[in-house]
């Protein structure tokens, strides 16, 4: 009896060993490691900042080891802040690569782009490397957790930032704010239209 059950156990163990590489292969076949969060509540914060108000200043660490300070662009460049909810998730993993091939639109409006997430730096580093080389800085709002997102009124109750865009002019004033449905990416042309409204 024990011999029979032992053989049965061996068969199941072999099945498990065969199944494991298959699962790993499937995870790689999509090309990127993506966590599927499912459908989320479209927005989960109270918007605090409207166009016409000064943009709160911040200094945050970036994935290249430098620190990025918003006020350093004052009088020099227009700034687009792109808050995204989380690394390695489907929409976020496409939104920034989309901006990556739209650099000319930012340049023609004398604007820089800063990507922000409440993930920590190592996570953002691994994720952005997975997406290819991004031309814009990606900064971490991890600690104090989501403090910048909170200042902009886009920190969700689960600790993630809303998927949101802020266009800030050279005077440091918010000219456009889009707190978007977290489940979908903002249209590129909507942002480009707002950029085109800015004076160089």
């Amino acid at each position: 009896m024990y011999k029979a059950t032992g053989r049965l156990a061996t068969v199941f163990i072999l099945m498990a060993l065969i199944a494991l590489p298959a699962a790993l292969w499937a995870a790689q076949s999509a090309g990127m490691n993506i966590y599927q969060p499912g459908e989320l509540k479209p927005t989960d914060s109270v918007a605090a900042l409207k166009p016409g108000t000064p943009a709160p200043d911040f200094t945050l660490p970036s994935t290249d080891g430098e620190k990025v300070t918003l006020s350093s662009f004052k009088g020099k460049k227009n700034v687009v802040l792109s808050f995204v909810p989380a690394a390695f998730t489907p929409v976020c993993s496409q939104q920034w690569p989309g901006y990556n091939i739209a650099k000319d639109f930012f340049a023609s409006s004398d604007a820089v782009l800063i990507g922000i997430s409440a993930d920590n730096v190592p996570t953002l580093y691994a994720w952005t490397k997975d997406m290819g080389d991004l031309w814009f800085p990606v900064v971490s709002d991890f600690w104090p957790h989501g403090a910048v997102a909170q200042a902009y009124g886009v920190l969700r109750n689960d600790g993630m930032a809303e998927r949101s865009l802020f266009v800030i002019d050279k005077e440091g004033v918010i000219r456009y704010a889009d707190v978007h449905d977290i489940n979908s990416a903002p249209r590129l042309e909507d942002l480009v239209k707002e950029l085109q409204k800015l004076g160089k």
């Binding site: 049965l8 199941f12 498990a16 199944a19 699962a23 496409q94 939104q95 690569p97 091939i101 590129l188």
Partner: protein
Amino acid sequence: MQKILLGITFVIALVSVGVAFAKEAPREMKVNVDVLSGLNLAAPTGSDEKRYLGIQNEKTFKLSDLKADTIMVQIFSMYCPICQAEAPHVNQLFELIQSNPQLKDRVKFLGIGTGNTPFEVDVFRNKYDVKFPLLPDDGFAVQKAFSENVRTPTFLSLSNKAGNLKLNAMHIGAVKDPGELLQKLLPKGGK
């Protein structure tokens, strides 16, 4: 004791197999060709693209309207980093078709930008100097033809007999070697 160990082993094995097959599901993504061929696709606006597809002034068309023995479709997204990285390879794939006298008039190749607006498709076209027609699909209509969330890029090869389309082959993911992918997509014996 041995029965307990056997029970634990059984549960672990069952869960492992279950997880593996659950994750395998996308590999078996099914495409409903009847749905795909019946979709109203936005006609291209460029005159070269219209001429290539044989479209006059229609605003929309169906894949089954195209006059070609084989129709190859790349489902892509302007936002997809893999599609961006693979764009030069896909351009090479199209050049392989166009430079082959036996394929040029028998195979039509086009891209559908799933979830992309015309503006977004234009950005992709201009960035990578794409010569084949790229069509917007901002309403995710093409998703209706797939059993799973369509992954980008996905390549489909459809044989066309008097407007009756059948699936020859499907390839999901990176191209790597345009020549190899072309051979995979061509109907057997259809070089």
